[in-house]
């Protein structure tokens, strides 16, 4: 591998940008392709397919063997609300391999004592998301019950096309939320993407059980509907 390719690839990965390392298995030469870069011909089609599916593969083109190694950003989970459910969700999500961030402007909730070893921001979601924008490789769970805190984050998640968006609250609460989001300019198709009530229907009662249900939904979205669905549709 060319050392420059490795540096370039790792730099893109640090920036949460999708990239493919293309290696010619005949002569060992490689190059880094960023998502959106133009690659001509059959190779370009294979590269596009790799970005869509997230699956690395060896392809044969014109009698030559190429290996396409796809590097998609690690799935991330942003939780709005440093609430009891989030305290259970944080360690579970970490074990399941998600980069987790908890955001809550209420400093009494968002304290390091309640969230040891968690990336925690005691700020309004808008402030944090302006610095670290959401993306298609991020899931968002809004858990505060407070429209002032949840709604701006939900709107940002819809805009960024997060692969999973869920919001805590009963059907009645959600109906009022839908009204507010429509008034804020979100389309009803987009709003339909919000899972509410949040989480898999497993009869979860305690905060920890609800955390399991939420994480289950996030994983289901990651492995089926979300990123992979794009491939199936293509």
């Amino acid at each position: 591998m060319d050392p420059l390719s490795l540096k370039k690839l790792n730099a893109l990965r640090r920036e949460r940008r999708a990239a493919v390392l293309l290696t010619d298995l005949g002569d060992g030469r490689d190059r880094v392709i960023r998502e959106g870069d133009t690659v001509a011909g059959a190779l370009g089609e294979a590269v596009a397919r790799a970005f869509r599916s997230g699956r690395s593969a060896t392809v044969e083109i014109d009698g030559r063997s190429f290996f396409l190694n796809v590097h998609l950003p690690a799935p991330r989970l942003v939780v709005i609300g440093a609430v009891h459910i989030s305290q259970a969700l944080a360690p579970m999500a970490r074990i399941a391999g998600f980069d987790l961030t908890v955001i809550d402007p209420r400093t009494a909730f968002a304290s390091p004592e309640r969230f040891p070893d968690v990336t925690l921001h005691a700020e309004w979601p808008d402030e944090v998301l302006a610095r670290a924008p959401l993306d298609a490789y991020t899931a968002l769970a809004a858990l505060t019950h407070d429209p002032k805190i949840d709604d701006p984050a939900l709107l940002a998640a819809l805009k960024a096309e997060c692969f999973y968006i869920g919001a805590l609250g009963s059907r009645k609460t959600h109906a009022r939320r839908v009204e507010r989001l429509l008034a804020a300019g979100a389309s009803s198709e987009a709003i339909d993407r919000i899972e509410a009530p949040i989480g898999l229907d497993i009869g979860a009662a305690s905060p920890a059980e609800i955390a399991v249900a939420v994480l289950g939904s996030v994983i289901a979205a990651l492995r089926s509907r979300g990123l992979v669905a794009k491939e199936e549709a293509a």
Binding site: L9, T23, L25, G28, R55, T58, N69, D99, T119, A132
Partner: protein, 112 residues
């Protein structure tokens, strides 16, 4: 996202390879490029090896890493990439096999 999030990707073989390279170590990179059957690690998985035989990452569940590390020493010595194949079908060619019954192809190359 933040620096803290990135650091949570500790143990990432390609990040480790870059660190090793910066500290002046010769590094080989092994990559799973094809799998058949129930292979333990998906296509694209990496094992990185230095000239002293230190390694990070994995290309199998531990079944063939030893053989890959040995081959990496040759690759580091002559700079020529090699394609290795492991699996039950190749028991005569290779001393090691995948106990799960799968087959994998591993590309081993020198960094630089």
């Amino acid at each position: 996202m933040s620096e803290a999030d990135l650091q949570s990707r500790e143990g990432d073989p390609l990040m480790i390879a870059e660190e090793w390279m910066k500290s002046g170590r010769d590094v080989a990179i092994a990559t799973v490029v094809e799998t058949w059957g129930s292979a333990p690690r998906p296509v694209g998985s990496h094992l990185v090896i230095d000239v002293e035989g230190n390694f990070e990452g994995s290309v199998s569940g531990g079944c063939v890493e030893g053989a890959v590390v040995a081959e990496a020493a040759e690759v580091l010595a002559d700079g020529t990439p090699r394609m290795l194949e492991f699996g039950v079908a190749d028991e005569t060619a290779w001393r090691v096999g995948l106990s799960c019954g799968g087959r994998i192809k591993v590309y081993v190359e020198r960094l630089g």
